[in-house]
Amino acid sequence: MATTTLTIQNEQGFHVRPAQLFVEKAGQYEATIRVTNASGDQADGKSMLELMTLGLAKGAQITLEAEGADADEALSELTQLIESGFGEG
């Protein structure tokens, strides 16, 4: 299992569009993706609804976990997506 800790960069946190981009990317991998917020709530990385209801705003700390054959690749791609602020600058 691959794990990493990240900070949400984009202004709006996990609103509809970022959640959608994340889910689309996560869906490209076999690996199970889990996102955990600072209070320990977990979301399925392939579910917009769960991601949105984690209440992640800019500056929030999250833990990203991936489990499965392509876990490492999934994790690095998703990390990049979050660190780029979902392309919003």
């Binding site: 579910s47 609804l49 209440g55 705003a57």
Partner: protein, 682 residues
């Protein structure tokens, strides 16, 4: 026993008085299925009594306590609100609602067991209606429920995508996005699969599974301390309602498009997909538990001319199908089961309003001139292209204030230059060459933008807002100015900066405007020539009013924003009920600032307008005419009233009156003098 009348207070967002029967729509009814709500709500008794008097048929209690199960006698006393709702349904509610299903066969379903669960809806479900108790479902019935759910899902998805397509053409990308977003939620692993799981594991009906997951998911959004996310709960409920509507052959859920009799819609909230379907021939008015003044639903109601009261709170849950209602959109009041005297009083008010409307109609085609032929420009305040539509119909001579923050508040993220250009262009084209003053982003204060995450402030109205944000985060303002300039090729646009406190801010803002212009010119984009596009400022801070003579040399125009000018001059928060009585635009100090601004503009050969509430007040008309105000911008509905007021005024007499009013001591004296003048003019 006659029904006891009671009143519910809300926010009147679309004026008018309507009298009609309640139709409880969707999400509200779903909430009522929760046993605790119906049973504990104190108002239920009053509403219930009324419901019985309108109904004749047998009473069927849904999901109420077993004691309430004995038909008609239950309605006399302690029956739950839900039980009576069913009785009311018998009384001739026009459309089969969720509740109406309970009348099928009049089965005394109250006796059925699953009262304590949220299975109040069990008898509604076609499958469960056969008498199958939840938990005892056979494999065959599970499979059929799963198939029903699957069918509802694919129909809902097709419907949403088609609706999104149509909405894209009529209301734009923004609204369409909300609908296609709902289609995405439908495919979410945390939405649909748990419904299937519930049916498989708990043997409940498809309808119950939808209700359970929708309630759960919407609840999670509502629990977040974030208005944007809380609004997504309405999307989830909307989606749930759509699924439910496909779960029964006989229209288990009310479909707005199926309503063919006059009703007053009562709902938890109306989602954008509901609102676009409202047919004003049948929907006399609507009342919602949630919602606010600036929501899209409210704005749309105003442009559709449907009276509406929103944000009326929990008490809305006590209104039953078929209850007689008076909706007073002027005052923001709902009267449930009005007694004869109240009804008579409101019918009289309604008749008077209709009479006045007919009288005002005569002024629709007339120019806005005083009795002695002095013409002024009457323009409209808008926030959306739909409102521009309504403004054009009401013969606004232009748009005096286009509040762009609405575009930003409805968006999920910062609208791009492209999206902004499209919106501004649509308004410019709709107004067909008439002037449109676009105010740059005025957020902060009481208007938040979730995705900008502005800091919480102790003193927001004296803090980081409007032009202060635009000059700090210049990329925001620059993008907006570029978008306005690009749209300027399609109509007569003007730019107005809000909250300017002095010359430095104005000069910085103008420099950004020049930068945007230079950029676009070098990119070869077609924009209006410098002489064709006026750039002005709002005067809403006393310091700007006091420096109006300096500012007038540099700006093309002023527009006086009385709402903030009064608040800042008198140091009164009009939302604060303890001091709101001090808020008065007839205060002589405010009048002196207004005169100063108009005179300063005229000395420099510029024009002065007003886009605050004062401009639409007929009582203020003689004063403003006397002060020489050039452009008056107001809610489009007020234009015809101001035309009528102007037609009886003499500009010379008004000039003299204005001098007299400015010499008075108190707002009370000014008001009294204006009332005397008004009485004499008639």
């Amino acid at each position: 026993m006659p029904a006891a009348e009671y009143r519910i207070r809300g926010i009147g967002v679309s004026p008018g008085i309507r009298i009609g029967r309640a139709l409880v729509y969707g999400a509200l009814a779903e909430r009522e299925a929760e046993p605790s709500l119906g049973a504990t709500s104190p108002g239920a008794g009053a509403g219930a009594g009324g419901a019985v008097s309108t109904g004749g048929g047998p009473s069927v209690a849904i999901g109420s306590a077993p004691a309430a199960g004995s038909g008609a006698s239950a309605t006399g006393g302690g029956a739950s609100a839900t039980g009576n709702r069913a009785a009311a349904t018998d009384g001739g509610v026009p459309v089969a609602g969720d509740r109406a299903a309970a009348t099928d066969g009049g089965a005394p379903s109250a006796g059925s067991g699953p009262v304590a669960t949220d299975g109040g809806a069990a008898p509604d479900s076609p499958a469960a209606g056969a008498g199958t108790a939840p938990g005892a479902a056979s494999d065959a019935s599970r499979e059929s429920e799963l198939a029903l759910l699957q069918q509802a899902r694919s129909r809902s998805e097709a419907e949403l995508l088609a609706l999104a397509e149509r909405t894209r053409a009529t209301l734009g990308e923004e609204q369409a996005g909300i609908l296609s977003g709902q289609a995405k939620f439908l495919a979410d692993p945390a939405f649909y699969p748990p419904m299937e799981k519930k049916i498989r594991e708990e043997g409940i009906s498809a309808r119950e599974a939808v209700q359970a997951i929708v309630t759960h998911t919407a609840g999670r959004f509502e629990a977040l301390n974030n208005p944007y996310m809380q609004e997504r709960a309405a999307d989830i409920r909307d989606l749930g309602q759509r699924l439910l509507s496909h779960l029964s052959e006989d229209g288990g859920g009310v479909r707005l498009t199926d309503i063919r009799e006059e009703v007053i819609l009562v709902a938890h909230d109306l989602a954008p997909s509901d609102t676009v379907q409202l047919d004003k021939r049948y929907i006399l008015a609507f009342v919602t538990r949630a919602g606010g003044k600036t929501s899209h639903t409210s704005l749309l109601a105003r442009s559709l001319g449907i009276a509406a009261v929103v944000g009326a709170g929990e008490a809305v849950g006590d209104i039953a199908d078929g209850d007689q209602l008076i909706v007073d959109g002027d005052e923001g009041v709902i009267i449930v089961q009005p007694d004869a005297a109240t009804l008579a009083a409101y019918r009289q008010r309604q008749a008077a309003a209709e009479h006045e409307a007919r009288e005002l109609e005569a002024y629709l085609g007339q120019p806005a001139v005083s009795r002695d032929g002095v013409a002024v420009e009457l323009a409209a305040n808008i926030g959306t292209v739909q409102e521009a539509e309504a403004a054009a119909e009401l013969q606004a001579e232009g748009i005096g204030l286009y509040r762009t923050e609405f575009l930003f508040m409805e968006a999920k993220q910062l609208p791009s230059e492209e999206e902004q250009t499209t919106a501004y262009r649509a308004v410019a084209e709709r107004m067909a060459g008439k002037p449109v003053i676009i105010r740059t982003l005025d957020i902060g204060g009481d208007k938040a933008l979730p995705y900008l995450q502005l800091p919480r402030e102790d003193n927001p109205f004296l803090g980081y807002r409007a032009i202060r944000i635009g000059l700090d985060r210049q990329e925001l303002l620059l993008t907006q100015l570029r978008a306005i300039l690009r749209a300027s090729a399609y109509g007569q646009l003007k730019i107005m900066f809000p909250m300017i406190s002095g010359l430095s801010e104005w000069r910085q803002a103008r420099a950004l405007y020049e930068q945007a212009r230079t950029e676009l010119e070098s990119e070869g984009v077609a924009i209006a020539a410098p002489g064709e596009l006026e750039v002005g400022i709002m005067i809403e801070i006393p310091s700007a009013a006091l420096q109006a003579d300096r500012l007038a040399r540099e700006v093309d125009f002023f527009s006086i924003g009385t709402n903030d000018l009064v608040q800042y001059t008198l140091a009164v928060d009009r939302m604060n009920e303890h001091v709101a009585y001090l808020y008065d635009y007839f205060h002589p100090a405010v009048l002196q600032l207004i005169r100063r601004v108009i005179e300063a503009a005229h000395r420099e050969g510029k024009w002065a307008g007003m886009c605050g509430g004062m401009a639409g007040d007929p009582l203020a008309a003689p004063l403003l005419l006397g002060l020489g105000l050039d452009e008056w911008s107001m809610d489009a509905g007020a234009i015809v009233r101001i035309k009528r007021a102007l037609s009886s005024l003499d500009s010379g007499a008004c000039r003299q009156l204005a001098d007299e009013l400015l010499a008075l001591d108190t707002p009370e004296e000014v008001r009294a003098a204006l009332l005397r003048h008004q009485a004499e003019a008639q």
